[in-house]
Structures are given as structure tokens and as C-alpha cells.
């Protein structure tokens, strides 16, 4: 009698399944499990205490968590919109260049070449209330004689973080939208001018619908980026002062490693990931719509 063997397709897929299970699925399940325990890194045996949904219940009544959640959404909204508007403007300016455009495109991408940690340090220095460039410039221009506490006041610190985010990532939008502009045929623009459009109407009704898929790709990428924002904020304010720039992942990291409450942190992380998935799904559906409209063919 012939020995039973795994069917070849299953056998061939098995290595991939095993590797994925070992490096992704098991840790994921473990973290999911631990989010139902009061697991503390300082008391390893707590991982065996099942507390059901207690962590989640606490999260839903925890004002700090929801403020951090809201702040993350706010950062996402402000940063992405600013980046899109600035990126669009940059792309349209760069697209005008017929000579030297390649060099400009390269220069445009410089901010993306720096580690976010370094960007954080750089902007921390620039916004320093004593020796920072920003206050220095404002004082030299005579706009103020105060030392503005950029990284100490909660609102100002949020603005400073937005500036750093926008500086480092506007080029993502600029590059995608520039690609769209370069792929765009000229004739419909001329048709729009003949049809009676002002330059603004031409942009609104012809150029922008064509660029939308490109902008949504950048949106999707950047929404994932900002939803997991950590590094720049960690360096610039560390969520401070007094938690006024705390976003989801700085809060989660603090809970997990400073407070050692890993079970709680994992529960928070699962809620945060839902946020990311929601944004990605939204932008993907928008991308799908925009692409269906423009279709493949001009």
C-alpha cells in the first residue's frame, strides 16, 4: 500500500506558509492574545491571566487614548492636505521647466533621503526657543521680541510637528502629481480653452480629474505613514509637553515600554491598526473611482 503523501500544490506552498506563520502570524496571534491579558513586562507570569475585554473596555473610556487618537487623525488631515496642495503647486511649477527638469526633480526628492529621526533633530533645533533658527529669524525681522516657546506650547508644538512632516514628505505628492502631469495629453486642455474655460476652470474640470488617481496613490501611501507617525514626534517633543502632542504610537510605545503594560499597549495597537485600515480602504475606494473615470485611454 502506498504511503499517503501531501498533494504537490500543498507541499510546494508549505515553505511560504511556514515562514509567514513563523514571522507574522504567530507574533500577531500572540500579541492579540496578550491584549486580553494584563501582561506586564516586569511580571511575565501575568501573561497567563485572562481578563477578557477589560483592556479594550478601559481604552474606550480612556480620555488620553481618544485624545491621542483624535490628534493622530488631525495630524493626518492637516499634514496630508497641506502636502497635497504644496505638492500640487510644486509639481505644476516644476512641470513648466523644459530644461533642467531632471535636476529639479532630483532636488525635489532630497527631503525624502533623510531619516525621519534626523529631520526631527533638525526641526527640534530650528524651533528651539533660545537658539533656534525660527525665533532668530522672527526676531531679526523685528516681527517679535519674544522667544516664542515653539516646542513647549501644545498648539505651537503641533504646528512645528506638522511643518516637519510636511517638509519631509511633500515631495511624495509632488513626484506622483508630476508623473500625472507628464502623462497628461495636451489636447483636452486646449479643447477646454476653446470650450470657454478660464485657466481655473480648465484646472478644475480637466487637469484635476486626470491627476486625482495620482494624488490618491500618494494619499494612500502617506496616510499609512502618518497613521504610524512616531519618529519625528518622539525626537521633537516626545509627545510632550505633558502629553499635548501625544499621538497614537507615542502613547502605545510609552504604555508598552515605559509603563511596561504590554497587554494594554497591544490592545491599543489593534485599535490603531483599524484606523490605518480604514484610511487605506477609503483612499483605495477613491482611487478606484478616479481611475474608472479617467479610464485607460485618452
Amino acid at each position: 500500500m502506498k504511503a499517503w503523501r501531501l498533494p504537490p500544490p500543498v507541499l510546494l506552498l508549505l515553505p511560504a506558509v511556514i515562514v509567514l506563520a513563523a514571522i507574522v502570524l504567530l507574533p500577531l496571534l500572540l500579541s492579540l492574545y496578550s491584549s486580553f491579558t494584563p501582561f506586564r513586562l516586569t511580571r511575565p507570569e501575568t501573561i497567563y491571566d485572562w481578563v477578557g475585554f477589560r483592556n479594550y473596555e478601559r481604552i474606550f473610556t480612556d480620555a488620553d487614548f481618544w485624545i491621542a487618537f483624535g490628534r493622530t487623525v488631525l495630524l493626518l488631515t492637516v499634514a496630508l492636505n497641506l502636502e497635497m496642495i504644496l505638492g500640487l503647486g510644486l509639481a505644476m511649477l516644476v512641470e513648466r521647466f523644459t530644461r533642467g527638469q531632471r535636476i529639479l526633480r532630483t532636488i525635489l526628492m532630497f527631503p525624502m533621503m533623510f531619516s525621519p529621526i534626523l529631520v526631527g533633530f533638525q526641526f527640534k533645533f530650528m524651533f528651539n526657543d533660545n537658539v533656534g533658527l525660527v525665533n532668530n529669524a522672527l526676531q531679526s525681522l523685528g516681527l517679535t521680541d519674544q522667544a516664542i516657546p515653539w516646542l513647549i506650547d501644545g498648539t505651537l508644538a503641533f504646528i512645528a510637528i506638522c511643518v516637519a512632516e510636511v517638509w519631509s514628505s511633500t515631495s511624495v505628492f509632488a513626484i506622483f502629481i508630476l508623473a500625472g502631469l507628464m502623462a497628461m495629453p495636451r489636447d483636452p486642455l486646449e479643447a477646454a480653452r476653446v470650450d470657454g474655460c478660464t485657466p481655473w476652470q480648465t484646472f478644475r474640470y480637466v487637469t484635476w480629474p486626470f491627476l486625482m488617481p495620482f494624488a490618491f496613490i500618494a494619499m494612500t501611501i502617506r496616510s499609512l505613514d502618518v497613521a504610524r507617525a512616531y519618529d519625528i514626534i518622539k525626537i521633537m517633543t516626545d509627545g510632550g509637553p505633558a502629553g499635548r502632542t501625544e499621538v497614537l504610537w507615542t502613547l502605545i510605545a510609552r504604555t508598552a515600554y515605559s509603563d511596561a503594560r504590554m497587554g494594554m499597549a497591544n490592545a491599543m495597537a489593534y485599535v490603531a491598526i483599524l484606523l490605518s485600515i480604514a484610511f487605506t480602504a477609503y483612499f483605495f475606494s477613491q482611487l478606484g473611482k478616479a481611475r474608472a473615470q479617467v479610464a485607460a485611454d485618452w
Partner: protein, 364 residues
């Protein structure tokens, strides 16, 4: 509808002089075709009329208005582009109604205008589709629909049929002609295809190197070409040409062949000329057109190098004055290469051009 006047219209691109001070009057409701080879300035001229290119000098008038510095949208023109230039994210109906929407008309009015244009072009069933779902011919109709919805002063067509296959091109040509007859629109139509120009236009403007070579009705530019260039450009197959020198009695070619002076020409002896004869006027005995002025026929025996049967006619290639001449054989019979046939040359329709200037010597 309105008249269109170009006076001393000029266009420079840096050092390149694309359009060199041309004058043209287009009457109200007239269909004018601009033809010429690539780079002759015809498209540039059209784009200047549309306002898509700045003008370097001269004036453009639509009706009584000088529109030199007006934006395209202020000129009340419609344009059909070679690539159709439809808006891909709008439906056919939205494409056609877009110009009215921009003009701020209300929805009921837009819908009525679009529906009427769609009926005229038989694209009513396509109104909800997007351009990507249409064939080339359908897109062409939509582009035309978009143009007529607007009820403009002048229609501009920029090689509208050149992206279509030959059969569809012929069909759309007929439709454009019918459309013009119904709308009585003022039309400027750019094409490199002389057949389109001949069949559609009331008058043809033949351009070369930024200059107008001749303006005339299809009949005029065919039968009385003002220059060697026009003669070679209009008509298919093109006119046969050969260098000659005038003698006391007629023409002598480089190889010694002599022909009598074509009627209507009175050229002094010893002048260098170019002799032109259309393929229709070089035919084997018994296979020709009965031309109106067919009384200046010269007969000679020629050897056929090659024949191209086209079904209803056959093109014959013969050696005449050391040039390959094309002759046209009607009611064709089979011809074998090398066959010697008796050809008639109907010199009443022949042309003479000055060898240096290329200008016609008719009446000179």
C-alpha cells in the same frame, strides 16, 4: 455665424518664420480648406485663429471684432481636434454639454441642445458612455457634436479625419459636408489630404513654407494652378512634369523631343519652362476622357514600363522626355510591360510654369 478675416498674419517661433504675412477673407457660411505639406503653416494658422497660439503680427477679425488678443474662450469658436481631445472622465453627454455648462446655461437648456446635436449625429444611444468605450468614428462624431452644440461664429477643424481608417474617412467626409450644408456654418478646415479639401471646400487655400500659394475653388486650383507647387499638390496621381525650353513653334525637351505650344500659352522663344500634363490627359488611343477642349491632341507611340490596374482604370507608366510620366487608361484592358501603345497627349489641358519662379505662365 460670421466672416473671418486674416490680414498680414505673421508668426515667428524664434528665428523660424512659420507664417509669413498671409491675407485671407472667409465669407459668412463659407467652407475654406487649408492644405499643404507638413510644416507649411496651416495648423499654426488655424491655432492662431483659435487663440491657442499668439500672433506675431497682423490682425484676425471674426465678424467686426479684432480678436488678436482675446483668449480662446472669448472668440466664440469651436474646434475639432485631430486626436478628438474628448474629456475622458466625462460621459459623451457631459462632453458635449461642457461648453454650455461653463457658459452657465441652465440644465434643461443644455440637455435640449445636447439631445438635438446627438440626434443630428446619430449618437443618442451613446450619451451615457465614456470616450474610452467608443470607437474612433464614434469619438469623431462626439467631437463634432461638442463643436456644434455651442453654435459658434466659426468652426475650426484640425485634420479631423486623419486618425480614421480609409472607409470611415470617406463616410465622415460625406457627413461633414451634409452637416455644413445644414448648419450653413463658417468653416476653416485644415488637412494634408487634397481629396478632403477638393470634396469638402468651397474654396481651397494651398500653403507652402508659411505663404499662400493659391486661393481658389476646387475647380480653379485643379484646372488653373497658379504655380508648379499647386499643380503637383492637387490631383492624384500628381501632375507629370518635365523641364523644357520654348522654341519658335513650341517646346523642346532635354532629350530632343519637341511638342507644340499648348493652347492658351504665349511664351517668348528660349525661355526655360516646366511642362506639366495631368495623367488624365495622357491616355492610350480609345481609352481617354472626352475633354471639353480635346482638340489639341498630339499622338505618339510610347513603351509602357509598368501598369497598375485599379479595376475601373489602369495607371500606365511611360518614359517621356526622360521622365517617368503617368497615364490614365479608362475602360482598361490588360497591358503587359514593354508593350508599345499609341498615346494621346491632350495639350489643351497642359500647363507651363516658369522654371525659376515656378509660377504659371498662363496668360503671361
Amino acid at each position: 455665424m460670421a466672416t473671418l478675416t486674416l490680414s498680414q498674419l505673421d508668426k515667428n517661433y524664434g528665428a523660424f518664420h512659420a507664417v509669413k504675412g498671409i491675407d485671407l477673407d472667409v465669407a459668412d457660411g463659407e467652407f475654406v480648406a487649408l492644405v499643404g505639406p507638413s510644416g507649411c503653416g496651416k495648423s499654426t494658422t488655424l491655432r492662431m485663429i483659435a487663440g491657442l497660439e499668439d500672433i506675431t503680427g497682423g490682425d484676425i477679425r471674426i465678424g467686426d471684432r479684432v480678436v488678436n488678443d482675446l483668449a480662446p474662450r472669448a472668440r466664440n469658436i469651436s474646434m475639432v481636434f485631430q486626436s478628438y481631445a474628448l474629456y475622458p472622465h466625462m460621459t459623451v453627454g457631459e462632453n458635449m454639454g461642457f461648453t454650455l455648462k461653463i457658459a452657465g446655461r441652465d440644465k434643461a437648456e443644455i440637455d435640449a441642445a445636447v439631445a438635438e446635436a446627438a440626434r443630428a449625429l446619430e449618437i443618442t444611444q451613446l450619451l451615457d458612455r465614456r470616450p474610452a468605450q467608443l470607437s474612433g468614428g464614434q469619438r469623431q462624431r462626439v467631437a463634432m457634436g461638442r463643436a456644434i452644440v455651442r453654435d459658434p461664429d466659426v468652426f475650426l477643424f484640425d485634420e479631423p479625419l486623419s486618425n480614421l481608417d480609409a472607409k470611415l474617412r470617406g463616410q465622415m467626409r460625406t457627413e461633414i459636408k451634409q452637416l455644413h450644408a445644414r448648419l450653413k456654418a463658417t468653416v476653416v478646415y485644415v488637412t494634408h489630404d487634397q481629396v478632403e479639401a477638393m470634396t469638402l471646400a468651397d474654396r481651397i487655400v494651398i500653403m507652402k513654407d508659411g505663404n499662400i500659394e493659391q486661393v481658389g475653388t476646387p475647380d480653379e486650383v485643379f484646372n488653373q494652378p497658379a504655380s508648379q507647387f499647386v499643380a503637383g499638390f492637387i490631383g492624384s496621381p500628381p501632375m507629370n512634369m518635365a523641364d523644357a525650353v520654348t522654341t519658335a513653334t513650341g517646346l523642346r525637351f532635354a532629350n530632343g523631343l519637341e511638342l507644340p505650344m499648348p493652347p492658351g500659352f504665349n511664351v517668348a522663344e528660349g525661355r526655360k519652362v516646366v511642362f506639366g500634363l495631368r495623367p488624365d490627359d495622357l491616355y492610350p488611343e480609345g481609352h481617354g476622357i472626352h475633354s471639353e477642349g480635346g482638340h489639341a491632341v498630339t499622338t505618339m507611340d510610347l513603351t509602357v514600363d509598368l501598369s497598375e490596374p485599379l479595376g475601373n482604370e489602369t495607371l500606365l507608366f511611360v518614359d517621356l522626355a526622360d521622365k517617368r510620366f503617368t497615364g490614365r487608361m479608362l475602360n482598361p484592358r490588360r497591358v503587359t510591360p514593354g508593350e508599345v501603345m499609341t498615346f494621346h497627349l491632350d495639350l489643351s489641358n497642359a500647363h507651363l510654369f516658369d522654371a525659376d519662379s515656378g509660377l504659371s505662365l498662363r496668360g503671361a
